[in-house]
């Protein structure tokens, strides 16, 4: 038995969910035009498969799930092709982080205190802005893996399948993304 609020009502979709879906997209893909397109595509795709809506989740949850898949498609496209050059650059940058033989931090790249480790960092607006800029510098594939894990808490298996990376490579990317972010923060904050 399906209760009334679990039915779909496309006549109010835009009013009820468009802003939410748009903000959701923008937080993951920093491109307004692309975000608009994705919101539109989401609604149209949802109409086409409306008969498959089982009423087990709310309308918004269901729409968000469709949107999520579209965002992953964008990540996947971004992380193939030309963007690999950025990945190569980022890998080269990290070569100096550790001593080649021992794996010990090199003096020039060792972690230095940010000076805010013990305070509430969430209040540091300026620090947040630097963080955002540093994230945008990450190679697309790293950004995608990092985002799906740290933001959406997606299952590792799912991320690996969706973005076509192996389990071993997944951890390498998670590691590299954080190393890059931390180094970028150190460079731009201290």
């Amino acid at each position: 038995m399906v209760t009334e609020n679990q039915l779909l009502n496309p006549h109010h979709w835009v009013k009820a969910h468009a802003d939410y879906l748009y903000a959701y997209t923008l937080s993951r893909i920093n491109n307004e035009e692309l975000a608009k397109d994705l919101v539109q595509e989401t609604f149209l795709a949802a109409l086409q498969r409306a008969d498959r809506f089982e009423g087990k989740s709310s309308e918004r949850t269901w729409l968000t799930a469709i949107l999520k898949n579209k965002i992953v498609d964008v990540y996947r496209k971004k992380s193939s092709g030309l963007s690999n050059i950025r990945e190569k650059e980022a890998e080269d940058e990290q070569r100096d982080f550790f001593d080649e033989d021992t794996g010990h931090w090199n003096d020039s790249n060792k972690p230095l205190p940010f000076g805010i480790e013990d305070h509430d960092p969430l209040r540091g607006k300026e620090f947040n802005q630097i963080l955002q800029r540093c994230m945008q510098k990450l190679p697309s594939l790293w950004m995608s893996v990092f985002t799906m894990k740290h933001m959406d808490d997606a299952a590792t298996d799912l991320i690996c399948t969706e973005l076509r990376v192996t389990q071993a490579n997944f951890w390498v990317i998670i590691h590299r993304a954080k190393l890059s972010l931390r180094a970028c923060l150190q460079k731009n904050w201290i």
Partner: protein
């Protein structure tokens, strides 16, 4: 002994384990190795702290931006067009 020495000096490996530990359960061996390393490496101790801080901030950043939806609203024209398109599809 040689292996232990490698563990103690290898910050690259230790930082990988620090990342892994935040997202999954380490194997028994990995968790011992990390503990030995952190006991003797102040740089990785600092890295550990900063890494956790960054994860928290990233998580917060994205959840804040959802709540700040008011700053990123779609314009009314776009919305109207979109709803019209949906109605069109429904009437097909």
């Amino acid at each position: 002994m040689n292996h232990l020495k490698k563990v103690i000096y290898n910050c690259k490996q230790a930082t990988l384990l620090i990342e892994k530990k935040q997202l999954t359960k380490l194997s028994f061996r990995e968790s011992i190795e990390l503990r030995i390393h952190l006991a003797g490496c102040s740089m990785c101790k600092l890295y550990n702290k900063q890494s956790h801080m960054i994860s928290t901030m990233v998580f917060q950043l994205f959840h804040d931006s959802i709540q700040q939806a008011s700053t990123a609203k779609l314009d009314d024209d776009f919305k109207k067009e979109l709803q019209d398109r949906i109605e069109n599809e429904l009437n097909k």
